[in-house]
Symmetry: C2
């Protein structure tokens, strides 16, 4: 048995038993005392070190609780085998200040906490962690949690006329994830061709390209994608955002939606309907989703919760048409679910309790007001420098046309300096443009007018 | 102005003002009263309907709060423009029972809630939702939250000797996600070839295949992948799990690790080191990670939190070598973060507070005991039917060789009937095998012996 030689530091504020505990822990983790070795008895060690039995016992108990030693009845204390994996046992020092530094550094923008009721969300999250924590001990279904798919099924029907059983719904962490699944499904169906809107939303095109799909760009008109320019006689998936085309903002009227469905049917093709922001329409009647008009199972419907909950929640979903559903079921076990299971279940409760519906109504009111104030401010102060590129009546941002010699990146950086979130349009579209995306949704209502005034003065300087 | 004709149901338990509110809401949402139209004055409507002014005022106030009408001072109430998007306004009926049904249906397995301290996790999550909720109003960095990358940087150094600045760390929802990023990075570097272990972990191979990489399978020996069989003179990324090869359980000794690093350097190739389960080693000293031995920036290190937190958390990370880091930084804005930002921040706090370290120590103790009881039970009861396929001393499962005429799927279903989680090995490896993966980690310690006895009796029947 190794001799235990420890010099106590009697001037230290650390109790003797902690000093003994630290010493022994170090001996064990460094291997100085080997696994399986017996420790001296309480009586012997206390005598050797000149301390009370209680002190030694406290140190041993702590080591026992933490698993560094085991105890055998009528025999004594032994160094545990688990101690092998040593370095991990060290606690890193607390670094609260660094956590604060990292977290606050990342919020350079103004924000409006009234956009979301985190209290209600927390209530639902707590219920999941308290009452359903056993579910968190298993991975999420690659298709998404059944409880959430059920809520989505009810919701898309009520809000957008989309007809979907929970079985047809697939949940993923963002549209890019779901597009990845679509690529895999379409490959199995021998579809290798995708048509996208031009100009259109580029990030999603990258996914198709990564998966080796060929891409045809099809021009967008005032009423959406130009149907006559779509590929014919070759199975194609056309990616469209008919309810709020990005970045033109064009809306496809019902008549044209039927013509697009006709095209899909005639050419054995599919429509990938991105219905982002569909909940955030502020004026006029919404046009029903293509999916609900479809009688031939030609539409994949894509939706997301990012704009109507809070942006850090990445929960998107798609509704597969009948032909694709069994193909996904056959491959799904090869892929893991990317969406947090806790957040999926929290959202299911949040919807089931009606909080989601209350929140959309609240957001719609608040954002409609913010949009009107922002548009008015650009009209008041924007003369000659910046004005909205199209008639926006939905969403969370305004697309700006800017006339200045400054590069878009400079304009965005100037916006950031005063806490405004502005992105170069070129980063999201395939347009060669000096356009900018101005996010008004997170600016508190009473700051919108003055911030836009300030911004335009900065840009003009 | 449209005439308001409402027959109150005086026998209903609903107050009159709610009946009026519902009636008006319906008129507004169906468009029967158009946006912008003025509602009758309080006095007039009350008189027309024969109710008190207070009742009418309550109904109007409710409509005002919910945004169906607006009020103009000195003028009156007008139907709001936001009302257009009608169907959404309907609350779905509560369906608590269905939520319960969906959530409980999915937990057919035994579970052990003592595996994770959900209370501590909830405490951290609450702090994020209370004190840092402004951060949740912005999307997560595609690379992962800085605060968590900082914690991981400290952690991997302490636990595995991995040297990584937060800048080199990329966070994603699972190894498959990160492998997707790796594919994109390697494409930019003109690496189109991957070598994988045979037998090996198949789900990750699917990702490489989806991205069009060619794959060479390299046999695994008792000490890991056969280095002489690795491709030479062609830039290759070899995917290995040197600390606990799946499914053989082989461990690559330090000497061979250096030889593998040498191979990478000589052939301008890279090593993708999957260090899953590295924290859960129960006996013997851990072998240091390849990444920490690497002097030529040839190793991508992949780790995950799924086994050491709870399986529903999908947070994985990788450490990029120097050459790959700027390439990822250049492409990252094209891809969205899949990992929940709330969970990333919660984990950063959980680590910073030391809870993560406490939990690993607890798990290591608990699982080591569970493993010993499970192995003893298979020795006692498994004779002729099932025995462990290799010497397991880490992880959360045991790989079983089974001798019976029943198909693996039948054996798994029989296990499921008594709440045990068993998977066919063939679903995760490219081996033609009747082997099974038996998860012991979630079975309460005091049920392990009896459940295995019960299981083997079922299988033998």
């Amino acid at each position: 048995m190794k001799l235990i030689t420890l010099q106590f530091d009697h001037s230290s504020s650390e109790p003797l038993y902690i000093q003994l505990y630290n010493y022994l822990k170090n001996e064990v983790t460094t291997g100085a005392i080997a696994a399986g070795e017996k420790l001296p008895s309480l009586r012997k060690l206390s005598k050797d070190l000149g301390i009370s039995i209680t002190t030694t016992e406290l140190a041993y108990s702590q080591l026992l609780v933490e698993g560094y030693v085991t105890s055998r009845p009528q025999s004594g204390y032994y160094v545990a085998q688990v101690a092998g994996a040593a370095p991990l046992m060290e606690f890193p020092e607390k670094n609260k200040m660094e956590f604060e530094k990292y977290t606050f550094e990342e919020s350079p923008y103004r924000y409006d906490l009234s956009c979301f009721d985190f209290g209600k969300w927390k209530k639902c999250a707590s219920r999941i962690l308290n009452d359903y924590s056993h579910m968190l001990l298993f991975e999420s279904d690659p298709q998404g949690e059944a409880a959430l798919r059920f809520e989505i099924s009810k919701y898309v029907y009520k809000s957008r006329g989309v007809i979907a059983s929970p079985d047809q719904i697939v949940i993923g962490a963002g549209t890019q994830q779901l597009t990845g699944h679509l690529c895999r499904i379409m490959r199995k169906m021998n579809i290798g061709h995708v048509a996208t809107e031009d100009p259109g939303y580029v990030p999603v095109q990258n996914i198709f390209r990564d998966h080796g799909f060929s891409i045809t760009k099809v021009p967008v008109e005032a009423d959406g994608i130009k149907i006559e320019k779509l590929p014919a006689n070759i199975p194609t998936a056309v990616y469209v955002s008919p309810s709020n085309q990005f970045p033109t903002g064009s809306i496809m009227p019902v008549g044209k939606r039927y013509r697009l469905l006709e095209w899909a049917k005639e050419n054995n093709s599919f429509i990938l309907e991105d219905d982002y922001d569909s909940e955030l329409r502020y004026f006029g009647k919404p046009v029903p989703a293509l999916q609900g008009l479809d009688r031939d199972s030609r539409v994949v419907y894509l939706g997301s919760f990012s704009s109507t909950l809070f942006p850090a929640v990445k929960i998107s979903y798609m509704v597969l048409p009948k032909e694709m559903t069994p193909i996904f079921h056959a491959i799904k076990s090869d892929y893991t679910q990317t969406c947090s299971k806790t957040e999926q279940l929290t959202l299911a409760l949040f919807m089931e309790e009606g909080f989601y519906y209350t929140n959309i109504r609240k957001l719609r009111n608040l954002y409609a007001q913010k949009l009107q104030v922002a548009l008015a401010a650009f009209e008041k102060y924007g003369d000659g420098i910046a004005h909205p590129a199209n008639k926006t009546n939905s969403g969370i941002n305004i697309i700006l046309k800017v006339r200045t010699k400054k590069a878009p990146e400079v304009l965005c950086e100037e916006a950031r300096q005063i806490g405004l979130n502005v992105l170069p349009l070129a980063s999201l579209t395939d347009q060669d443009t000096a356009g900018l995306i101005f996010y008004y949704n997170q600016i508190p209502l009473d700051q919108i007018d003055s911030s836009i005034k300030e911004l335009l003065a900065l840009w003009a300087a």
